[in-house]
Symmetry: C2
Subunit: 338 residues, 2 copies
DNA sequence: TTGAAAGCGCTAACAT
DNA sequence: ATGTTAGCGCTTTCAA
């Protein structure tokens, strides 16, 4: 069942079929209808390999995901897939480990699958112009932007939240409540990822509240993994430091923290307040409900695709799209005990 | 950069390059090495569209996922992606809503992307031979099997757990503890999905413990969504029925149930025991830790791919692979109050 | 062991 | 408005 069969069946040339398939204007309505009918009746589906071969690129965009364990990224990923299908594009997903280089993986994907563009989901921030030159296609940083790199704004696109400002806001919520001894649960303080950025927001929120940073209150999990967050919080608690609140840079990590606190008999929010950033579905159902700054995950995915498709269409330009979080008030906040 | 360039560069014909690329035996070692070197130096990457065009099928397998919201399926999905890449295949994922027909979607995917095979992730069980005939390629049911359909075992493959037996086991855990009034939290009792199967296990476990099924203790969420599970449990609790335990057919739903119970002042496990099936990562961190039968999600994904690839290789045969769960003892179980 | 040449199904000049 | 035709990059007979 090829275009030829359809041509024969409907009594026109294959070119006409192709024109109908690609919505070219130069086809008489009458003929178009006939062809459409033939396609329908024959259950004809175009062969995308053949279709792609002619062009130099496929209608496919690649998504390189770092850290699929993260429920938040999953939600974004699924939104991306939906939007990509809706636009009649294809998506190829590629997961990478925390030590792999998303740029190298992306570049290789682009070549083998001849992608039109890339979306990086959860990556580093320190790309240089030389590094992205290897990509050769437009790309969108989704959930982050190139804060630590030396890229010109015009060289790439991104859809992200202001990690620094949102973290600041989260921590300010705690200081406003009167908390002075606020711990932070994060991956690493200097990994050039959202972890570092949110840490900066934490530091400055403390500073602006007149609180001196206490390095002993930094809980480094070394990853965004929920198990690691639990272990890190556990060890932190063993040290017996004095604190009244925790800012967790991610919901999943915060859930682990609540559990770790509970394990040693500390109750949230009575003994320790907690606020996080992300807003994953399950954190609505923790006990108490996690208070968190909800990222618009669906929108983030959808917008990332839109932005990429726009850039692709115009063959120029780029777009930095900053989204806002919304505070979801749960039950993990309280004033510090007198 | 095409095969021609490589041919020119290394001074052989494109046929030879093709042979090297496809590991054909009829190439002198010396020549092979030369070609490999050229490929390396030129950074040549074969054009997969062209490659696919020649063959009648692409080295691609499709995954049709029903219910991506489910963290458990996500975990399986990622395992599938990893295994597919490892085997040098490509994967296309397609999400469908709960009302869409996975078979129709799958058939359309197969044709447009010319897939070699399909994996269905989270689907119905009631396929008929006529329906699967439209697919035209081998497929694997992952996380379920065709219990309600009329397929011959040889007509398809599946990787699954024995939902009936595992549910039986879960509920038996409760009856063994002395529980008599056990509610069940599920999607629907007759949707021909795992929900129905696990419900059967629940019914028979009650029966074998000499307990009469009380229809008032069936909590139907109408979906596997965590929000719906919460609402359903909430309404159930409003009715004021007497019960001492809940069997939740999924971890995520169980988490919602704990929350709903807590909302009305009921404590798990003191006022109500709870057991579930799935074993998603986050349920280790609920308070108390969810007691659940853990499905080997990674293995399930990996095996599904292996099974499919084997079937593809042999061009015949099929495989029904039943995996086992492992009880993870959390803190949601207790004897019923006297 | 190697090469020449004929497609695979489709798109896009170009011609009519 | 429609048809003819030359590729797109690769695989695969078939010959040598």
């Amino acid at each position: 069942m090829t275009i030829k069969d359809v041509a024969k069946y409907s009594g026109v040339s294959i070119t006409t079929i192709s024109r109908v398939l690609n919505n070219h204007p130069d086809v008489r309505e009458e003929v178009r209808a006939k062809v459409l009918k033939a396609i329908e009746e024959l259950h004809y589906v175009p062969n995308s390999s053949a279709r792609d071969l002619g062009k130099m690129q496929t209608d496919t965009i690649g998504v390189v995901v770092r850290g699929v364990g993260n429920p938040f990224l999953n939600s974004v990923l699924h939104a991306i897939e939906k939007e990509v299908s809706r636009a009649d594009y294809s998506m190829v997903m590629h997961q990478i480990g925390s030590n792999e280089d998303e740029l190298a993986e992306g570049a290789s994907l682009v070549r083998s699958k001849r992608l039109k563009g890339l979306i990086f989901l959860g990556g580093r921030f320190d790309y240089t112009p030389e590094q992205i030159a290897t990509l050769g296609v437009p790309f969108v940083c989704c959930t982050y932007t190139n804060t630590f790199g030396s890229l010109k704004k015009t060289a790439y696109s991104s859809v992200y939240i202001d990690d620094y400002a949102e973290a600041f806001r989260a921590v300010k919520t705690l200081t406003d409540l009167g908390h002075k001894k606020i711990a932070v649960l994060l991956g690493t303080t200097d990994d050039h990822s959202i972890s570092e950025l949110r840490f900066k927001g934490y530091c400055d929120a403390l500073k602006s509240a007149g609180i001196v940073l206490d390095k002993d209150l930094i809980i480094e999990a070394k990853s965004f993994n929920i198990d690691d967050a639990f272990k890190a919080t556990e060890s932190f608690l063993k040290k017996g430091k004095d604190f009244t609140a925790i800012f967790s840079i991610a919901d999943a990590m915060g859930i682990a923290a609540i559990k770790a606190l509970h394990t040693v008999g500390l109750n949230v929010p009575d003994d320790c307040s907690l606020i996080a950033i992300d807003g994953i579905q399950v954190s609505k159902y923790t006990i108490p409900t996690l208070t968190t700054l909800v990222q618009p995950s669906k929108q983030m995915g959808t917008r990332a695709v839109e932005v990429l498709l726009n850039v692709l269409k115009d063959e120029c330009g780029s777009c930095q799209l900053k989204l806002e979080t919304a505070l979801r008030e749960g039950g993990t906040l309280a004033k510090p005990k007198a």
